[in-house]
């Protein structure tokens, strides 16, 4: 896993990251919002790469084997994987440790270790502004809001999350929370069928007669 770097990298007048570096969250005027798009950005570093989604599934299977809801995510920055994580709710007894939160917190720690404890929110956001997230299931409302708050550039996800989905299924977090002045692009449906099958495999292990609300940790 490569170390995150806060250096802006070699300067290219119009790239390599396509549009000018996404504005930081605080000063960005509403017009600078990245809009949801069906076609995705033209930049190859931020267009969908199936290899990264395959990695999510490796992580999700790892979660399944230790009795966690099988969700895995991969954070990609400038074409490189900077972090891969899986759900750790049961293991840590912490209901907030969905894969995406695990990854955000690990990266934030790395950034701040590299830059010193005084690293400001803007520096952290500048880092995430060039991160695209791959995850096999739609981020829940908590994770979608966290991804918006750190300012990730975009999200590729697999299947929809009908119980908790925060990218439009239960709530469109990016639409509702206008105070962040940041909207990641969202594309969905990648290996969605595989993602559903994997989740079914997890829920099969539960009492099939229990009404949904009585089923155990099931949180994603």
């Amino acid at each position: 896993m490569s170390q995150p770097s806060l250096s802006p990298g070699p300067h290219h007048p119009h790239g390599p990251h396509g549009p000018p570096t996404p504005a930081l969250i605080e000063p960005a005027p509403p017009a600078a919002k990245k809009l949801k798009t069906d076609t995705g950005p033209a930049d190859p570093d931020v267009s969908y790469n199936p290899r990264f989604m395959d990695l999510c599934f490796d992580k999700a299977r790892e979660a399944l084997h230790v009795g966690e809801v099988p969700i895995g995510c991969v954070f990609v920055r400038e074409g490189h994987v900077v972090h891969a994580a899986r759900n750790r709710v049961n293991e840590t007894r912490n209901p907030t440790l969905h894969a995406e939160i695990v990854a955000i917190q690990a990266l934030e720690r790395q950034i701040r270790q590299g830059q010193g404890q005084s690293t400001g929110r803007l520096a952290v956001q500048a880092y995430f502004n060039r991160v695209v997230v791959y995850v096999n299931c739609e981020p829940c409302i908590m994770c979608a809001s966290a991804l918006q708050q750190v300012g990730v550039q975009g999200i590729f996800f697999g299947c929809a999350n009908p119980r908790f989905g925060g990218c439009g299924t239960v709530l469109d977090v990016f639409q509702v929370d206008h105070t962040r002045r940041w909207t990641p692009f969202v594309q969905q449906g990648f290996r969605a069928h595989d993602a559903i099958e994997l989740l079914k495999e997890f829920y099969k292990g539960e009492n099939p007669n229990a009404p949904p609300e009585k089923r155990k940790p099931a949180r994603k």
Binding site: R93, P95, T96, Q105, E108, V124, R163, G166, V176
Partner: protein
């Protein structure tokens, strides 16, 4: 200091009633009423979310039927309804009727002034709206809520700190959150407090079910959803926030698909008094 405790209902509790136009008709001959209602029910049935409206409005010696919702011109009616009107000498007129089912008794009373409605009173809900639940507004309970919130507000006056009080059947925990140290973007008081409970093996346990949580600020979307995942019972906050997700941007506890619902309360000094 005087305090005020209000529930944040998962819907707008204002007694004002949203309305819609409708075409109604006076029925001169009561004996024809049931066959007219039957015909109208076949041509313009009330959908599931319109069934709160009764089909007939009775006043002494006068009967009016609801012909069709959302329409005010007789010419927009189905030919067979037009002939029904002619045949029975019905007297069509436009009316304003409630647009949605009443949720509270106050809304019901306003609604029926417009048109007769069906309504089942939810006693728990009325007790909340009327500040009658003894676990919330009863003297000893109320003092406890105030004391917990006061302790949150006092603890967070230290710069860079926030505080969350957690009350569970096993006792009360106060969780101090160092905002810088606990993370810039995801280290909000709620996220940090849940994480502390997990790592300390607190008796509040892995899930905060049966816990009441006292927060200075209305939690954001991330934190409100974290409280759903943690399955808390009740949330009390003091200051609404522009990015708050329990009252300001959205009422998260109103979203239907979520498989856990909590009570939400706004607990603050009266008249926005100084702290």
């Amino acid at each position: 200091m005087k305090w005020r405790l209000d529930p944040v209902m998962p819907f707008d509790p204002s007694p004002d009633v949203a309305t819609q136009p409708a075409l109604v008709a006076r029925v001169p001959d009561q004996k024809k009423l049931s066959s007219i209602v039957k015909t109208l029910g076949a041509i313009y049935p009330l959908t599931e979310n319109q069934q709160f409206l009764k089909r007939v409005k009775k006043k002494i010696g006068s009967w009016t039927v609801l012909v069709r919702l959302g329409v005010t011109a007789q010419s927009d009616l189905h030919a067979s309804v037009q002939s029904l009107i002619a045949e029975h000498g019905l007297e069509p007129e436009t009316a304003i009727v409630p647009a949605g089912p009443p949720q509270t008794r106050a809304q019901f009373e306003r609604s029926t002034q417009l048109w007769p409605c069906r309504f089942h009173e939810d006693k728990k809900l009325e007790d909340l709206l009327g500040h009658r639940d003894p676990d919330l507004w009863g003297g000893p309970a109320l003092s406890r809520h105030y004391a917990h919130m006061a302790s949150v507000l006092t603890a967070r006056t230290r710069a860079g700190h926030d505080n969350v009080v957690l009350v569970h059947p096993g006792g009360t925990e106060s969780r101090n959150v160092h905002l810088e140290r606990d993370g810039l973007c995801t280290g909000h008081p709620v996220m940090a407090a849940i994480t502390q409970s997990a790592s300390n093996d607190s008796p509040a346990g892995y899930l905060w079910s049966d816990c009441d949580v006292y927060l200075a600020e209305e939690p954001c979307l991330m934190c409100s959803m974290a409280l759903v995942h943690a399955r808390v019972r009740q949330i009390f906050f003091c200051f609404p926030s522009p990015s708050g997700a329990l009252q300001t941007l959205v009422r998260l506890h109103a979203l239907q698909p979520l498989n856990h619902k909590f009570g939400v309360f706004w607990l603050r000094p009266e008249h926005g008094g100084s702290l």
